[in-house]
Each structure stands twice: as C-alpha cells, then as structure tokens.
Amino acid sequence: MISFSPSEEQQMIVNMVKEFNNDHVRKVYRECDESGEIPANIIDTAWELGFIASSIPEEFQGFGGERSALTGTLIAEELAWGDLSMAMHILCPALVAMPVVEMGTDEQKKQYLPSFCGDKFKVATSALIEPRFDFDPAELQTTAKRANGGYILSGEKCYVPLAADADLLLVYANEGGNTQGFLIEKGTPGLEIAEREKNMGIKALATYELSLKDCKVPKENRLGGDAGCDFNRIYNLSRVALSAMAVGVGRAAFEYARDYAKERHAFGEPIASRQAIAFMLAEMAIDIDATRLMTWEAAWKLDRNEDATKEASLAKMYADDMAINVTNNAVQVLGGHGYIREHPVELWFRNGRGFATFDGMAIV
C-alpha cells in the first residue's frame, strides 16, 4: 500500500544524523572546505554511528541489520545536508562493503567484511571514473585481461576518494565488454596512486587519480568470483545514493536562501516578499521534494531486487539538474553576498555542479 512515511526506526536514524550534523559537521564544514582536511574525530564519531557495520550480517561481525537502499537514501540525504565532502568520506567504505555484501563470494565476505566492523574507520574505496569527457561506465577503457590464472588490469582512473590511505580498492574494469569489479589490496605492484586531485568543489574530500600498470590480480579477487558481479545493480545503487545526496545539498542551499530572504531587506521590505524571489524559492522546494520522492521509488525497487535502471537513471538525471539549479538559485537569492565565501551558498553551488560528474562515488 502506497505510503510516504518512514518507519520509526528510519526516523530514529535520520534524527541521529541530524544531531551529528548539528553537533559536529556544521561547526567545521566551512573551514574544512578551505583547508581540505576533515578532522579525524568527526570521521571516528561517524564510524561509531555504525552506518556500514549495521548492514553487514552478524556472521561477519556486523550488526546484522536489514540491508535497505531506502534507509541508505535517508542517511545519504541527511549526511549530505551536513556536508557533501564529509558524507562521501564517511560513506566511502560502503563502496567496497556493500558490493561484497550483495555479490561477494563466501571467501570474499569472510576475508573482507569483518574488517568493516572494527572500532576504527576502515579506509576502503572504489575506482570507476576515468579521466575523459566521454566516460562510459558500461564501456570502460580500463581493461582486465585473463593471464596465468589471474587478471591483468591496465588503465587510468580519477575521482577515487581516499585512495592514498585505502588498504582495499574495488576497481572496475572492462572484461570482454562487461564491467566487472576487482578487489585490489594496497601495495599491489602496478597500482600507482597519483597526487591528490584539486577540484572545484568537494574540496575537503581527498580524491586521487590512479593508474593500473599491468597490475596483476589473483582470480579469487574478482568480485563475485566466477559468477562476477551485477554491475548494473551496483551502478543503480550508486545513482540512488548520489540522487539522495543531491537532495541533501539542495535542501541545505534552499533552507539557507529561504532564511536569508526573510532577513534581507531591499526597497523597504524583505526580498522574500517579492515574487521574483519567492517563486524561485517555491520552485526550489518543489524540485527538491520531487527528487527525493523519485529517489525513494528507485531505492524501493532496488530493495525488492527488481531492475530499477529506468527509475534510478531518471531520478539521477532529474537530481543532477535540480542540484545545479537549486544551488545556483540560492547564490542568486543572496545577490553579491552569495558570491562571497563568508556565506556557504557558493560552496553548495560548487558541490552541486559536481553531481553530473560524480559517478559511482557513493553507494547505498
């Protein structure tokens, strides 16, 4: 039966994230964007909230909660409302953990999942995007070739979060026309992590380019073993996560612009009492809500193990446009002040522009 109310448990999780945002994230996110560093205690505190371990079965030392993409979207939206860089950093280990939970072989689960359930933030990441304008996740330029009972990977990747510190990477490569995932451990010869990237936005998130130079990977490290992985599903889980994050960023920008518009006076009255401003805000609110609802629907389908390619790709397409329009409008509502880094709307605008680029950088 159609319903739009989150469960009590989901509401509790959302409230927990809100509290975390107000107590921690929102106190420092501005400085973090300037310095490019996220304080370790924030990441540790977030780790204690157990976003990742809660979706890992008890037999692998997780909390054994129900794995739900829908709950994941609620968390992703809320974390991204706090700050997108931190949200992506905090949820980065899920880029490896969730595909292994869903598609890993028993050995892979046994070998890797317990390491996501310890006391300390597990630095693991995945590499999908390649540095070219016509990047296509279904036709990767990075290749995986069979040789000597294993695989040899070669190619270039970019926008790999936390790569320099990661001890486990899930690298996607083109294996005979299909996209497959390969679990590569730190220090594997041929895996070369380049310098940290400098981007327009998400500046507090450390991302890297990396190259694979005839990097040898044992055949046991192919995600899902002989069966391989269902990359389409992984990609849809990512679309949904990013759409939810776009909603979070959009909502942050909208709320700030709305409050500012009520305070700021021009021509003798608050600028919010002019339709030019008020209608912009109304449109922002409508598109934010619409994106959230579309994202929920796609996640709901994924939770039923149905193919959600259409729903997820339409939601992501809508979310990409929404994110840039809403954050652009938020800057506009603040006028010249929106352009100044004293106010956060320019940060959200820079981050919002990224959604069309961020492919596979988050997962629910």
Partner: protein
C-alpha cells in the same frame, strides 16, 4: 513504511479504468472535440449506471481514486468532466456541509436520472482574486430565504447541473465590507427561479465539458442552503472560516487536478513512445548523457518531469487519505503537474512533427486539453504563491 506498491484492489480499479478509457472513451474522443456542444448521451448513461452502483462523488479521497482519474483523463479529460457526478459542488458540500446537508444534497447523485454538480466562484471581475467576488447573498428575514444576485462565469458543468436535477454551489458575500470573512457557499438547486444559464463558452480544449455562465437575479433559496455558519467573523482575513473552507475544498481538489493533468501528459508520452517503437527507435535508459540521441534525451526529460509530478501528486493524495493537512503538498503537486503537462504535451507535438500537429491524431488535442490544468483550480502562479507563503511562513499580506 515507505511503499510504492498499489493494493490489488487499487490495481484492479486502475486496470478497469484504463480498459474503459481505451475501449469506450478514445473511440469517441475526437468526435466530441469537433462537436463542441453535443452531449455524449450513451457515454453519460453508461457512466451514470457505473457511478450509481459505486454511489456518490468522483472525488474519492485515496491514492487509488486519483490514479483512476488519471486513467480517465488518459482517455479524455473533457469527457471525464462530463461523467455525471456531484463534481466540485459535491467536494464543497463534503468539505463544509453538515451531515444533514451532505445527506440532503448528495443523495440525488446516487438515484434517478443522470445529474451533475458544479461550483461557481469565478466572476468577470474576480478570478484568481477570489476575495473580490461581487455576488451578494442577503437574508430576507420575513421569508427566511437568501436572495442571491450576481454573475458567475466559467462554471465547469454549470449547464448540465442546472439542466439536470443537479445543483451548483455558489460563492457569494453576505457582507461586502467584510472581505473574505463575508464569503459563504450556498447551494442553488436546479430549477430555482432567478438562476439561469446565460452562456456556454467555446474553448481551446476540454470541449466536451460545458463551461457556463450563471446569472443570479433575485434568486431565492432556503435558509438551510448555506454551507457552514452564516456568521461574519472579522478576524485576520486568511483565518476566516468561510474562506478557509473554500481553501480546504481546494486542498482536496488540487491533487485531483494534478492527477487529471498527469493523465493527459501520459497519453502524450505514450503516443511518443509507441510511435518511436513502431519505427524501431529504442529509448536506451541508463546511458551516459553524451551517448543519448536528442530524441532519447527529450523522452527521458519528459518522463522524469512526469515522474516528478506523479510522485508529488501521490504524496498529496496519500496525505489527504491519512487526514494529514496537505495544503502545501497539494499546491506543490498542482503547480508542478500544470507546468509539466503543458510542457510535455507541447514537446510531444513538436517531436512528432506532422503527426503531432494533425487532427488525424489526438496529440494536438491533448496539448489543447492539458493546458487547462495550469489554469483552473488556481493558476500555476497562484499555486506557486501558496507554496511560497507556506515555505516562508508568510501571510497573504506579506506576499501578494
């Protein structure tokens, strides 16, 4: 629990509505577009039988009902409005009438010959600005009757309401100096002396539906025909009871208008998809945007916009079914659906080239039909105003 699954009953209702739209409505759709003031007698009779069985108003309050209306309008939005029912008049009576009034006035819609109900707010000098209505209601204390005077225009189903044994809910002011506080709804039953249909409009679209002018010339109605209290309370205008009731009616009907819009929008989208399919042109979901053809991108943008409006509509109707206040969400859905249907239908005509513009097909008709949803029950701008006031927590004085 967040859930997007329809119940089997809802699905069955939607499937039945779709079948009827396809088999009964579509075949006569063009004819009644081209024969504007002709009545589809068989269709009316058949709809009346169905609704007498179901008993009551088209304004079912749930998600299932909204999706049924969507299917009806996928068939034909004009004909959907011609199906005999208590219509917006019924919605007003449900929103503001006492139990007794509801029984009294709505009973007729389940028995006898086909009947219609309508609501008359708009006047030549008062459209969006409903508070500017000039129609008056004066109590004649000797006969204990209300005496109505004024001119109401653009009444959907006005002619059929007055020519069947139906009714029109007329908004009039009992005290012009009181502004919104003086506005009250009155039930004018068909056949009341002094209430006459003066004109039926020729329109751009939804031509099967009659849009009428009602002249009230010393029209006398019983005291009991006022819906709600006759008292004029002079308080802050947006808080007044009479006006609030009118707005409560809109909170109920706006998601329904959104559903109507979506029906027309999906008809156009389906036309585009089917035409492309016939030509062997697939829509490849999930490709990166640089690999999409212009046609694919257009179709996907239309579908995404459709989904956006659809989910907003479902949320607003679901809230209504849960008895949650939904004024903000109803206006969001209405504003979005109005814009989306106008855009999708126009885009579809553009994309389909000569097929789109030709009257051989229904696409051009849907473009004309769909546009009404951005106008009635509050124009797109008025709904944006409502959304903006809600999100800013502003009164109508703070945001005009």
């Amino acid at each position: 629990m967040i859930d997007f699954e329809l119940t089997p009953e809802e699905q069955a209702m939607i499937d039945a509505a779709h079948k009827e739209a396809l088999e009964v409505v579509r075949p006569i759709s063009r004819y009644y577009d081209e024969h504007e003031h002709e009545s589809p007698k068989d269709f009316i009779e058949q709809q009346w039988q169905q609704q007498a069985q179901g008993g009551g108003s088209i304004l079912g309050l749930g998600v299932g009902a909204s999706l049924r209306i969507l299917e009806n309008c996928w068939g034909d939005a004009g004909l959907m409005l011609v199906a005999p029912s208590s219509g917006l008049g019924g919605a007003a009576i449900l929103a503001s009438g006492t139990q007794e009034q509801q029984a009294n006035f709505l009973k007729r819609f389940g028995e006898g010959e086909p009947k219609w109900g309508a609501m008359a707010m708009t006047e030549p000098g008062a459209g969006s600005d409903t508070a500017a209505i000039q129609t008056t209601a004066v109590l004649d204390t000797e006969t204990n009757e209300w005496v109505l005077n004024g001119e109401k225009i653009f009444i959907t189903g006005g002619q059929r309401s007055m020519e069947s044994d139906g009714l029109v809910v007329v908004w009039a002011t009992v005290d012009r100096t009181a502004g919104r506080a003086g506005m009250k709804p009155f039930v004018v039953e068909a056949g009341t002396p002094g209430a006459t249909i003066d004109k039926v409009e020729n329109k751009l679209g939804i031509r099967a539906s009659d849009t009428a002018t009602l002249i009230l010339d010393n029209c006398r109605i019983p005291y009991e025909n006022i819906l709600g209290s006759p008292e004029v309370r002079r308080v802050d205008s947006s808080q007044t009871a009479g006006f609030k009731r009118a707005m409560a009616t809109f909170d109920m009907t706006r998601p329904i208008i959104a559903a109507m819009a979506l029906g027309v929008g999906r008809a156009s989208l389906d036309f585009v998809r089917e035409t492309l399919e016939k030509e062997g042109i697939p829509i490849r979901y999930g490709l990166p945007s640089h690999k999409l053809t212009a046609i694919e991108r257009d179709v996907m943008e239309m579908e995404a916009a459709y989904k956006a409006a659809l989910t907003l509509m479902l949320r607003a109707t679901w809230m209504m079914s849960q008895f949650q206040p939904n004024s903000l969400e109803a206006s969001m859905a209405k504003a979005k659906a109005g814009i989306v249907v106008a855009w999708i239908t126009q885009k579809a005509v553009e994309m389909m080239g000569p097929l789109g513009y030709s009257r051989k097909y229904l696409l051009e008709k849907w473009m004309r039909d769909g546009k009404i949803n951005d106008i009635f029950e509050g124009t797109g701008q008025i709904n944006m105003l409502i959304v903006a006031r809600r999100i800013l927590d502003y009164t109508r004085e703070e945001l005009k």
